[in-house]
Amino acid sequence: MHAAVIVFPGSNCDRDLAVAFERAGARVSMVWHKDTSMPEGVDIIGVPGGFSYGDYLRCGAIAANSPICRAVVAHADKGGYVLGVCNGFQILTETGILPGALLRNAGLKYVCKPVDLTVTTDQSAFTQGYTAGSTITVPIAHHDGNYFADEATLDRLQAEDRVAFTYARNPNGSARDIAGILSDNRRVLGMMPHPERMAEPLHGGSDGAAMFSGLVQQLADA
C-alpha cells in the first residue's frame, strides 16, 4: 500500500502521519505543496495537521488553492482515498471535498488534550478496525475545530451514517458533537483529533493505530 503525505509550509504533523502509515506497513512518499501531481500508484493521500500558510485568511483556505490540492481533488473525484487530520480536515472542507466548515472553538481557546471519541460507524476503511459504539482516546490540538454545517447537511450526514467519530464530551462547540466525517463514497475522512499522535504505547496510548492498520489491510487487498 502506497501512501502520499503532503507537506505544506507550516505543516507540523506530516512526519507523525508518515510514521503512523509506515508502522502499519505502508510505503510513504512525502509530496511537496508545489508539486502538481501525485507519485505513480498512490492508494491514499494523507493531508496532515499543522498551520499551513500560517492559517492566513482562514484555516486551510490558502492550502486548498495550492497546486497539489488540485491533485488531491482529482484523486478524490476518481474514488481515491484521502485522510485529512486537523488542518487537513480544514483543508478538505475548504476544497469542497467534504461538506461544512471548521469555526473558531466556541470557548475561544486553543484546546490541546486527549479526548474520548465514540466510534460512530465501522462501515469504512478508516474505522473497520474499531467496533461501532466503542470509545477511543485520541488527542486534539486546535483553535478552529468547531464543526459547522447547515441543519440539512447535518441530517444527511447522520442519515447516511457518515459521521465517523463524535466527542464524548464536546470540547469545541461542534455541531452534534461531530469530530470526523466521511465523504459520500466513504473514501475520504476528515477529523480534528490526531490518530497519528496516539498510535504506539510511547505516545501514551495506541487507540489511533487501528485506523492505519485497517487502511493498510483494506488497500493492500484492493
Partner: protein, 79 residues
C-alpha cells in the same frame, strides 16, 4: 481602482469572537451593547479601470478564495 471587500460570518453562524468582544465592552461599562459581530476587511488594488469588470472579478475572487460561502457572506465596495 480600489476594491474593499467586507467578509462577515453569516447571521445564523455563532461568532464566539464577537461574543467575547460584547462581554468585554459590557465589563468596561458600555451599556446597551446588544450584539457584536466581528468580520474582516480586505483592500485590493486593481489595474482594472472599468467598474463593472472590476466588480465581476472581485466577486469571483470572493467566491473562490476570499470568503468561505458555507459560513461567510461578503460585500464589495469599489472606489
Amino acid at each position: 481602482m480600489k476594491a474593499r471587500v467586507h467578509v462577515m460570518l453569516k447571521s445564523g453562524v455563532l461568532d464566539p469572537q464577537g461574543e467575547a468582544v460584547r462581554h468585554a465592552l459590557g465589563s468596561l461599562g458600555f451599556e446597551g451593547v446588544e450584539g457584536v459581530r466581528q468580520g474582516k476587511v480586505i483592500e485590493i488594488d486593481l489595474a482594472e479601470t472599468d467598474a463593472a469588470k472590476a466588480e465581476a472579478v472581485v466577486n469571483e475572487m470572493c467566491e473562490k478564495l476570499l470568503a468561505n460561502t458555507v459560513i461567510e457572506s461578503y460585500s464589495v465596495e469599489l472606489g
